[in-house]
């Protein structure tokens, strides 16, 4: 077990280093310079370059860069709000994004599970078909399409919910974005739960449990659901990542002052430092989630651990 975890951690560290290198190289390749003002003279530009350490050799810059990245200091924003440290920019926005994202995951997971269980228990009935249709639509239609639809119907036509995010009413104004974001999670979880439940329900130990006289709720929850939950852990990681990318556009649609909309603004105003910092944070979160899931899965299911150890 220790060997397995160690290997996973090592791979994650390498991945993060590779990402940092890629980000650094891309930063060097970015067209133009952050100081695009035509009024700047050559000496002023040189002074600015010296101030931000852009005149040093690349290797020094890279090492410094790695050191800073891992310490969490990403430098300052060049364009969006001049000279504000990026960590400060992110600090105020991250909680909002996490709140909306967390709500989306919770909604999606709970309703997805319910939908999947119902579909499996009522296999080959109307409910099953309905679940399949919902999950196919949810998986294939991008979340911003839902976001626009919701925003138009409930925000514009019916005016039940605010169309744009406002800090004064954080709950009501994050209902629509969370719902729009959660649909993908909901659909995937429902699909996966259904498949796993169907398989578990058909297994011999369920027959045994039933013949021992266990029935109804305890049978489903304790015997069927627990065993079908194991593989669902694996879909969670990619789901959370999809959520992060989905949030970029959804945050823009509802103008939520979160990390996603910051990234979009940074891309559009060529604020490379912010883009790079956010890319790093996204990547770090992604790598971290993948690591946790891999280890969790190894603990839950020894076969995986042994198979992956057997790889080498």
């Amino acid at each position: 077990m220790r060997k397995y975890i160690l290997k996973r951690v090592l791979i994650s560290v390498f991945t993060l280093l590779a990402i940092t290198l890629v980000l650094f190289i891309l930063l060097q390749l970015m067209p133009g310079s952050p100081f695009n003002d035509e009024k700047l003279s050559a000496t002023q530009k040189a002074a600015l370059n010296a101030k931000y350490g852009l005149d040093q050799p690349l290797t020094v810059q890279f090492l410094k860069y790695v050191y800073n990245m891992f310490r969490g200091s990403f430098g300052v924003s060049y364009n969006i709000s001049k000279n504000t440290p990026i960590s400060q920019l992110i600090q105020s926005r991250l909680p909002i994004s996490i709140a909306v994202g967390g709500m989306a995951v919770t909604l999606g997971a709970i309703f997805g599970l319910i939908l999947g269980i119902v579909a499996a228990l009522k296999h080959n009935t109307f409910w099953d078909t309905l679940c399949t249709i919902i999950s196919v639509i949810g998986v294939s239609v991008p979340s911003y399409v839902f976001a626009l639809g919701l925003s138009y119907t409930f925000g514009f036509k019916l005016s039940w919910l605010p169309m744009l995010y406002s800090a004064g009413q954080p709950f009501t104004s994050s209902v629509m974005p969370s719902v729009a974001l959660s649909l993908f999670t909901l659909a995937s979880v429902a699909r996966f739960t259904r498949t796993e439940m169907l398989e578990v329900l058909g297994s011999d130990y369920m027959l045994l449990a039933e013949s021992k006289g266990i029935y109804g709720g305890p049978l489903i929850v304790r015997h069927a659901l627990r065993n079908s939950l194991i593989p669902i852990v694996t879909v969670l990681a990619p789901l959370i990542v999809d959520l992060m990318t989905g949030s970029l556009v959804v945050e823009k649609i509802f103008s939520i002052p979160g990390v996603g909309s910051l990234l979009v603004t940074a891309i559009q105003s060529n604020d490379y430092n912010v883009v790079i910092a956010l890319s790093f944070i996204y990547s770090a979160m992604y790598v971290g989630i993948m690591l946790v899931v891999d280890i969790l899965y190894g603990i839950i299911d020894p076969r995986i651990r042994l198979a992956k150890e057997g790889d080498n």
Binding site: T15, L26, V141, T245, L248, V249
Partner: protein
């Protein structure tokens, strides 16, 4: 056989003296007649592709999706030719016209009316009547710059599909080769190649794509390139797993014994056996590519104007979607339909190629 002839016939019985024994005509019976031969009809082996086709066409969802995809492709190819407008021609005098279709307009829908919410209440506007353009028709309406939405939607679909197809095919070639080679050689080669793929897979794709789009000039080729770099991992995993399964089988051993080279075994012996899984994965990667392209365009990193893709159309229409909702509906509908159909098509193909697979 021996029992039917009433003589004691055994293969090497002492009573048969082959030199002295004389064969009689009824020593032999014809086995070829239909009553005697039993063909196993239940598990008869059929042509693999015939079975795949039967299973695929038995799946209603997949067939409907296939038909829809074909219709959308046809419209993408010929749609822009069906009107006199071009995708970049602007008529500022004819901007924001609601959809108007000949014949159907008499039914009271698609007649160019649109209702606007103003401070004094809702009022109905008809751009065609206001400007006395009774013989002008915009089937899907016109956008904020007076361009025909019908033409632009199909032009955009064409570009989106083009990008997706190019990216998916290139991904297939790269991923397939990488996975097959990694799986075939095994050992240290596989170990190193797998670790590299694992590290690349650890990088969020969207981050890479976004950064690449920032560095490179915008355009068709750049988007394909960005998609190419990130999307081949899934394909390579499948190819590697299949290769690991197949390479121990006897036909590979036989081929090797006959002196086949590595290249021949990989691409001529193993590849044809996994073509089904490859095609399925190709189908799954098309909607992913369409989605990523739409996302990039929405963020503002897509196809440069005046060209358009589904993503850029949605992004443009988004700014006025509360006042002129008809402008955003066609591109969104086409995008959603395409994603849905390609996903269902891929699902159908997967089941057709491998019915034993778990139902997803």
């Amino acid at each position: 056989m021996a029992k039917k002839n009433n003589k004691p016939v055994t293969a090497s019985g002492p009573e048969i003296n082959s030199a002295a024994y004389e064969f009689l005509p009824d020593d032999f019976t014809l086995r070829g007649n239909s009553e005697a031969t039993r063909i196993d009809n239940n598990f008869a082996s059929q042509n693999y592709w015939l079975e795949v086709r039967q299973r695929f066409f038995g799946n209603k969802g997949a067939v409907v999706s296939l038909i829809l995809v074909i219709i959308i492709c046809a419209l993408a190819a010929f749609g822009p030719l069906m009107t006199d407008y071009s995708y970049k021609e602007q008529k500022l005098t004819e901007k924001n016209f609601a959809p108007r279709i000949p014949l159907i307009e008499n039914l009271g829908i698609f007649d160019g009316d649109e209702s606007l919410k103003t401070t004094t209440g809702t009022k109905i506007i008809n751009g065609y009547e206001d400007k006395n353009l009774t013989d002008v028709y915009y089937w899907f309406g016109s956008d904020t710059l007076g361009r025909d939405i019908w033409t632009r939607v199909w032009e955009g679909t064409r570009i989106s599909l083009g990008i997706a197809l190019c990216a998916a095919i290139i991904d297939m070639i790269i991923g397939m080769s990488y996975g097959l080679i990694s799986g075939y050689f095994g050992g240290r080669v596989d170990s190193i190649m797998s670790r590299i793929a694992e590290v690349i897979n650890g990088i969020p794709r969207l981050v890479i794509v976004t950064l690449l789009m920032l560095v490179l000039p915008h355009g068709f080729v750049t988007i394909v390139f960005a998609l190419m770099i990130t999307e081949w991992i899934g394909m390579s995993r499948i190819a590697r797993a299949e290769m690991l399964k197949l390479k121990e089988q006897e036909f590979v051993l036989a081929s090797r014994t006959l002196g086949a080279k590595h290249f021949f075994i990989i691409f001529k012996e193993v590849l044809p056996n996994i073509i089904g899984q490859i095609i399925t994965q190709l189908m799954f990667s098309i909607p992913t590519a369409i989605f990523t392209e739409a996302f990039l365009s929405f963020v503002g990193l897509g196809i440069p104007v005046p060209m358009c893709s589904l993503g850029s159309l949605i992004s443009d229409a988004f700014n006025s979607f509360t006042t002129h909702p008809y402008q955003i509906v066609p591109p969104i509908l086409v995008l959603a339909l395409l994603m849905l159909c390609f996903n269902m098509l891929a699902d159908g193909l997967r089941e057709a190629f491998d019915p034993k697979l778990k139902e997803m």
